[in-house]
């Protein structure tokens, strides 16, 4: 119990951030109309690629001979970049079609 409380105290700012972001996320997203659900899902999916930042940090913090971290990190960077680049590009393609107006 004590360790959990200690953890809570150390992470207090992150826990605040977590809670407020949940509320903010629900507020912002609940306004999206059905017609945009697919692009929203796809765009949100691209944002979840933000995990790539962890991958970059993992590689940068590794020693140049720590091949386990380097290989896992590079694998994670590849996976994350596919998610980010592919996600934003595919969302843009979808939204491009919404732009066209009635002639």
């Amino acid at each position: 119990m004590e360790t959990i409380l200690q953890f809570f105290n150390e992470q207090l700012i992150m826990i605040y951030l977590l809670l407020f972001t949940i509320i903010l996320g629900f507020e912002v997203i609940s306004k999206v109309p059905t017609i945009l659900h697919t692009p929203l899902m796809s765009g949100a999916n691209a944002i979840s690629g933000v995990v790539i930042i962890g991958a970059i940090l993992l590689i940068r913090q590794a020693d140049s001979t720590d091949y386990v971290s380097l290989i896992l990190g590079t694998l994670a960077v590849v996976l994350g970049t596919v998610n980010v680049v592919g996600g934003f590009a595919v969302t843009d393609r979808m939204l491009e079609m919404f732009k066209k107006k009635k002639k």
Binding site: V28, H37, V51, G54, D63, G80, T81, V85, F98
Partner: protein, 467 residues
């Protein structure tokens, strides 16, 4: 120290760009800018991470650059080449890779932990295990969803007898092992942790296995929210705010979409996950033997459409399969030129992805004000002369309203039978994906036009042109 402040400021700007981008996504006119904002936010965050001062470590930029170039070019090409109809699969793959990324990071952390290189408190270890679990489930789940949507994997090949029991047992086993790993600390060792990883991967696959058909949009959206949560957990591991904010936003987005879709089907999430739709079995297939279906010729259909005052198209997954969206638009233009009022009724779970039909019709240049959602469509249907149902089935099934025994009973549907006439475009009389018979087909004012939807519509277009 000064550089550090700039890095933190960049992360803050990146996080705001994410929120602002999602906000702009809420309106069709600003959606594209919203996506670009989010992409800019991501770029800022990545650049900041590349130049952020770190203690220890030897940067290893070459590895990072190789990874970014490899992943970036693959992602870009995949996104540019994919056909619009294959969009749900693509989103599913991208999503799975994001989950895999989080799982790999968590695994790297665990390897260091069991090596004794990095001590973790119980809370931190819990977060690492959470990221590993959710990321893995999202990865294998999304890959199976991709396989199903692409038609590579048939549902019946992956559903085991008593699959729900197996799933529950698997989930409990996985969670118990997680708790055990937490209690044991470093003494547990990497081997047991790897068993946990494998259990999580199997659970992801097994969790999606019994879900199919009309429930796919729900599960894709749910997996999307999982990937977000795994990214947020990774953010806690690295004590990085923008990862936390980005991940949670996605988690919230995925959760809301999932809930909205469940509400649209009037079912609980648990019911969707247990797979009640697909496995409930054919409720009453045999009773239809003595009922008579009225068939329409291409000519009948063309005449009915040409002389109608108002026409409503109801697209479903069949439209995507037949790639019929452009022909529908062609027919729409022809009819509009002759003074027919043409609208589209979009059921919230039509297709295999939330808003799937909207995207397809947008690709064919159908202006979005012509698309009606469930409520508006049902109000308008009473005044509609002819409804053309293109590859939809369960979303227009009257059994959802009047047959308590039906597996889809209680799901709000498009009440197309209230229009004067309906024409159903269908390959054959076989029931829809869910295996539920559709009494609409036997209604007095319904006609069936058998054949491939695109093919039939092209013939109708030719016929209308001669009038």
């Amino acid at each position: 120290m000064l550089l550090d402040s700039y890095i933190n400021l960049s992360y803050l700007i990146g996080a705001i760009a994410f929120v602002w981008g999602l906000r702009l996504l809420a309106s069709p006119d600003t959606a594209r800018r919203g996506n670009i904002w989010a992409a800019i936010g991501m770029t800022i965050a990545i650049i900041a991470t590349l130049i952020k001062p770190i203690s220890g470590g030897s940067n290893n930029y070459l590895w990072i650059v190789i990874g970014i170039i490899a992943g970036g070019s693959f992602g870009w090409m995949a996104a540019k080449r994919i056909k619009m109809t294959a969009m749900p699969q693509m989103v599913s793959v991208f999503n799975g890779l994001g989950g895999a990324c989080a799982a790999v990071l968590a695994m790297a952390e665990l390897i260091k932990y069991y090596d004794g290189a990095v001590p973790l408190q119980i809370g931190q270890l819990g977060i690492v295990l959470f990221a590993l679990l959710i990321g893995s489930v999202s990865f294998t789940g999304s890959m199976l969803a991709f396989g199903k949507l692409e038609g590579l994997i048939k549902d019946k090949n992956v559903i085991l007898p008593k699959h729900n029991v197996i799933n529950i047992v698997l989930l409990i086993a996985t969670l118990v092992l997680a708790i055990w790993l937490l209690i044991q600390g470093t003494t547990a060792g990497l081997v047991i942790a790897s068993v946990f990883l494998i259990l999580a991967l199997i659970y992801g696959f097994s969790f999606v296995a019994p879900i199919g058909g009309a429930d796919m949009p729900v599960v894709i959206s749910l997996l999307n929210s999982f990937t977000g949560l795994s990214a947020a957990a990774a953010g806690l591991i690295y004590n990085n705010q923008i990862m936390l904010v980005g991940g949670i936003l996605v988690g919230a987005a995925g959760t809301i979409l999932t809930v909205l879709m469940c509400q649209a089907m009037n079912r609980s999430l648990v019911n969707v996950i247990i797979g009640g739709f697909g496995s409930a079995g054919p409720a009453k297939a045999s009773e239809d033997g003595d009922q008579i279906v009225k068939e329409a010729t291409v000519n009948d259909a063309a005449i009915q459409l040409f002389y109608a005052n108002s026409v409503m198209f109801v697209p479903g997954y069949g439209l995507a399969v037949a790639q019929a969206q452009k022909v529908v638009k062609e027919l729409d233009d022809l009819l509009e030129a002759n003074g027919v009022d043409v609208k589209y009724a979009i059921h919230p779970v039509a297709g295999r992805m939330p808003g799937h039909m909207n995207v397809l019709l947008a690709e064919a240049d159908v202006p979005y004000p012509k698309l009606l959602d469930l409520e508006d469509a049902n109000a308008a249907l009473k005044e509609t002369d002819t409804v053309v149902i293109v590859g939809a089935n369960d979303v227009v099934n009257p059994a959802a309203l009047d047959e308590p025994g039906s597996p889809i009973y209680g799901m709000p549907v498009l009440e197309v039978w209230k229009a004067k006439n309906t024409i159903v475009l269908k390959r054959s009389m076989s029931p829809g994906y869910a295996g539920i018979a559709n009494p609409l087909f036997f209604h007095d004012n319904n006609r069936m036009l058998f054949g491939d939807a695109k093919d039939s519509l092209q013939k109708v277009v030719q016929e209308v042109k001669t009038m």
